[in-house]
């Protein structure tokens, strides 16, 4: 069924370059209950997820966004003449993980967790806007305090920090690794 609301929502998401939240859709289509909008978006997500489309609506960063489907990555890269998309280095990812799980956190605390000086990793993560400085800690030297950014959520396809791998998932990984070693 093609409801006009679904079409409106689709067009709004299409022009949006950052995740479009329910609140913002609601502010545009006045007087529509949130539940209806949610239903329209859900339908849109289900529609576009189905086969027969090259793009899909994804729920990420607390809102909705159009993205291409993973299957067409090769062709897209060919169009944009990009050989490969760069991943974070292991040092970068490790630093990012330490911040994600321990935020708000200072450089010294991150380096402490990793056992390695993390200054340059922090710099690169800042440049990539995956982390941000949120202030200074009331401690000797007033060190800068870091947090992950909205881009971080987007980068990993998360909606909030609650969606980070949980303690249980991490414990499971460790179990598996140990089982593999044994």
């Amino acid at each position: 069924m093609n409801s006009p609301l679904k079409n409106i929502v689709e067009s709004l998401i299409f022009v949006s370059q950052e995740p479009l939240t329910l609140e913002r859709i609601q502010a545009v289509v006045e007087g529509v209950p949130a539940a209806d909008i949610q239903a329209a978006v859900d339908e849109l997500v289900a529609d576009t997820a189905a086969d027969g489309r090259g793009i899909q609506v994804v729920h990420v960063g607390g809102g909705w966004l159009f993205s291409t489907k993973p299957a067409f990555d090769r062709e897209i890269r060919r169009l944009l003449q990009i050989e490969r998309k760069n991943r974070l280095s292991s040092a970068g990812l490790e630093t990012l993980a330490a911040i994600a799980y321990r935020q708000p956190v200072t450089q010294a605390e991150i380096s402490g967790i990793r056992g390695v000086d993390s200054t340059s990793s922090l710099k690169t993560l800042l440049e990539k806007s995956l982390i941000k400085i949120v202030g200074r800690k009331k401690a000797p030297g007033s060190p800068l305090v870091y947090r992950t950014s909205d881009e971080f959520l987007l980068y990993l396809g998360l909606n909030s920090l609650d969606e980070l791998p949980s303690e249980e998932e991490i414990a499971k990984i460790l179990q598996e690794e140990k089982a593999a070693d044994a």
Binding site: L65, S90, R114, G115, S120, I170, I173
Partner: protein, 266 residues
Amino acid sequence: MTAADAISLEQATDDTPALPAETPEGYQVRLDVFEGPLDLLLFLIRKKKIDIHDIPIAAITRDYLDYLDHKTEINLDREAEFLFVAALLIYIKSQMLLPRETDMAEHEDPRQVLVNRLIEYEKIKAACSLLREREDGQILQWKRNFIPPLHGESELEPVELSLFDLAESFFLMMKRRSADETRTIRGRDVSVEVKMKELVGLLRERRMIDFLEYFEANASLEEALVSFFCILELVKSRVAVAVQDELFQTIRVWLRKDAHRTDHHE
């Protein structure tokens, strides 16, 4: 910090530390496969199937130092971090050897601080493998806010240049030009508006222009000057972006994909 530590643009290969290859003379150790001393310690603990809560400090210290002895390259920055943990291990051992009046209670175990750190680090490492999976999945899904990176990208992050760098490069080039400029200058009017349109058109068409090459092609000094002002203006108004891959390399000018956007993420 070294280049190896920095978040360089890593190839999408598996990044599990390669095991040291056994050779008749011993083994070749590359410390840089380990993210740091904690990573090395965890590796040794796992290899020996040791219970992390009951680490035989003497044995693990010996293994650890062995590794440091067999390293193939020296890097003072990293070495310090590895040696720091070696010192910590020896300190813990000394604490354990010291006679005590009362029996050691559980919470007084001198190993506890290290064990806590190792456990925390182990968790972060495990989280990393999960986050890497997410990253790999997300990387295949292109979103509209994506701005294509520059072509011919090297391991180095290109530097976005200031107007001063551009100016410097321009004067350098003009100097070179003036050396072989013997012709009389033709009187031809070049207006900024026309040149600006021409430049944007060129950028749209070619996506990128080589800064120096572009000026070499300019007929007269006057024309080159006008073009230069246009480029400065385009960069200033954030319509174009000037990029240099490495110091002293040529400067390339790109049209900004997000030129019309007002919400620049700084």
